[in-house]
C-alpha cells in the first residue's frame, strides 16, 4: 500500500513502530523494518555512544530504513542529536517537546524529521521549522500522554498543517489503521502491539502483563508533576496514585518514587516496583508473534476494509 508516508520514508507499509524507552532497541526496530514498516530505536535517556551502538547493530540486521526516537528532555539530548546527524540516520522522531533547534542540522544530514505532537499549535510550530511530517498522538497511547484523544486530535492537526500526519494512540489493528485514514492521517504509529513481538527483548513479565490486560487495565498517573503517563494498573501505579492524591506528600519524593520504575519493568520484570507502560488497546493484544506477522495481519485487515475505497492517503 502506497501513502504519503510510505513515499516519504521509502517503506512498504504505512506503519511506524513507537519509540518505546527501554523497549525499542535494534532487535525490535530491525524486525519491524524488515517486515516493511518503520522500526524505531528509542534513544530514551541514554548517552550518544549507547545509541550509536544500537544504530550500528541495527544496520547489520536490516538494510531497510529505520529511525531513532529522541526524547527532548533527555540529559544527553544535545550529544545524541549531533550523533544521529553524524550517523546519517534515515529518520528521526522526537518526543516531549519542540525539536526546532535541531531541524537545520538534521536536514543537512538528509534526515527525515517527524515530531510527535499533542496539539495543533505544536504541529504548526514544527511545520514552520521545516519538519517532514508530524505524528499526532492521542492520550489512548502508552507512556507520556496528552489530554486530547486520537479521534479528536488527528483531524484537527490534519486541518492545521499541510504536511503529512501520522496517527498514534489507540491503534492496534487494521480497523484502527482505516479509522486513522478516515481522519486524514496517511499512516499509523503503533507501540503496545509491537511490545509483544517475538523480536522484542522486553522482560517476559512485561509481555505477560500486556497479554493479560483488558480494556480497563490501564490508568494515568503523574498529572500532579505535569508528566502524565499511562501504564497497566499494578501495585506500583496504585501506590503512586495514592501518594499523588496525598497533598502532604512532597513533589520531590513523588518524583523520586518514579525513578527507575520503567527499567525495573522492562529489564527486570519486577512486578512490584515496575511501571508497565501500555496503551488502552493492550486489551486487544492477545498473542506473542513475529513482527512480520503483526504487520501482515494489520495490512490484510485494512486492505480488505478499503477494497473499492478511493482515498487520497
Amino acid at each position: 500500500m502506497q501513502t504519503k508516508l510510505t513515499k516519504l520514508l521509502g517503506i512498504q507499509y504505512p506503519i511506524m513502530q513507537g519509540g518505546m524507552a527501554w523497549i525499542a532497541d535494534a532487535s525490535l526496530a530491525s524486525a519491524v523494518s524488515n517486515a516493511g514498516g518503520l522500526g524505531i530505536i528509542s534513544a530514551m535517556n541514554a548517552d550518544a555512544e549507547w545509541v550509536r551502538e544500537e544504530i550500528r547493530k541495527c544496520r547489520t540486521m536490516t538494510d531497510k530504513p529505520f529511525g531513532v526516537n529522541i526524547m527532548l528532555m533527555s540529559p544527553h539530548v544535545e550529544e545524541v542529536a549531533k550523533m544521529v546527524a553524524e550517523e546519517k540516520v534515515a529518520i528521526v522522531t522526537t518526543g516531549a517537546g519542540n525539536p526546532s533547534r535541531f531541524v537545520k542540522m538534521w536536514k543537512e544530514a538528509g534526515i527525515k524529521i517527524l515530531p510527535v505532537v499533542a496539539s495543533t499549535a505544536l504541529a504548526k510550530m514544527v511545520e514552520r521549522a521545516g519538519v517532514d511530517a508530524v505524528i499526532a498522538e492521542g492520550g489512548e497511547s502508552g507512556g507520556h500522554v496528552g489530554d486530547l484523544t486520537t479521534m479528536a486530535l488527528v483531524p484537527q492537526v490534519v486541518d492545521a498543517v499541510s504536511i503529512p500526519v501520522v496517527a498514534a494512540g489507540g491503534i492496534a489493528d487494521g480497523r484502527g489503521m482505516v479509522a486513522a485514514f478516515a481522519l486524514g492521517a496517511c499512516g499509523v504509529q503503533i507501540g503496545t502491539r509491537f511490545l509483544v513481538a517475538n523480536e522484542c527483548t522486553v522482560s517476559a513479565e512485561y509481555k505477560k502483563k500486556i497479554l493479560a490486560a483488558k480494556d480497563i487495565s490501564t490508568m494515568v498517573t503523574g498529572r500532579r508533576l505535569g508528566h502524565p503517563v499511562r501504564a497497566i494498573k499494578t501495585t506500583y501505579t496504585n501506590q503512586y496514585a495514592k501518594l499523588e492524591a496525598d497533598s502532604n506528600y512532597p513533589d520531590e519524593q513523588l518524583e523520586a518514587f518514579g525513578v527507575g520504575s520503567l527499567r525495573k519493568a522492562a529489564k527486570d520484570g519486577n512486578t512490584e516496583e515496575g511501571c508497565f507502560l501500555a496503551g488502552q488497546i493492550a486489551g486487544m493484544v492477545k498473542k506473542e508473534q513475529p513482527a512480520a506477522q503483526i504487520v501482515a495481519e494489520i495490512m490484510e485487515q485494512a486492505e480488505k476494509m478499503m477494497e473499492g475505497v478511493q482515498w487520497d492517503v
Binding site: 517537546g97 519542540n98 499533542a118 496539539s119 499549535a121 505544536l122 510550530m125
Partner: protein
C-alpha cells in the same frame, strides 16, 4: 489595545477564565502547561505577525511584553 490588554485576552482565553494580570505576574503562578505555552506563543506570533523564537522561556508577563514590543519594532 495595549500589548498588556492583548496578552490578557490571549492568556484568559487559554485559561478559560478572566485573568487579572499585571507586568509583574509570573507564568509560574498562572500554571500553564507546556502545550498551553506553545499555544500562547503561536497566538501572539499570529496576532502581531512576529517570530518569538522556538524555545522561549516565559518568566513574567512584563518580560513577554518587552519581547513582543522589541520584535514588533524590528519587523
Amino acid at each position: 489595545m495595549t500589548t498588556l490588554e492583548k496578552l490578557k485576552e490571549i492568556l484568559s482565553e487559554c485559561k478559560g477564565e478572566d485573568l487579572d494580570i499585571t507586568p509583574e505576574t509570573s507564568f509560574e503562578e498562572l500554571e500553564f502547561d507546556s502545550l498551553d505555552k506553545v499555544d500562547i506563543v503561536m497566538q501572539i506570533e499570529e496576532a502581531y505577525d512576529i517570530s518569538l523564537g522556538d524555545n522561549m522561556q516565559l518568566s513574567t508577563v512584563g518580560e513577554l511584553i518587552a519581547k513582543i514590543e522589541e520584535a514588533v519594532a524590528n519587523k
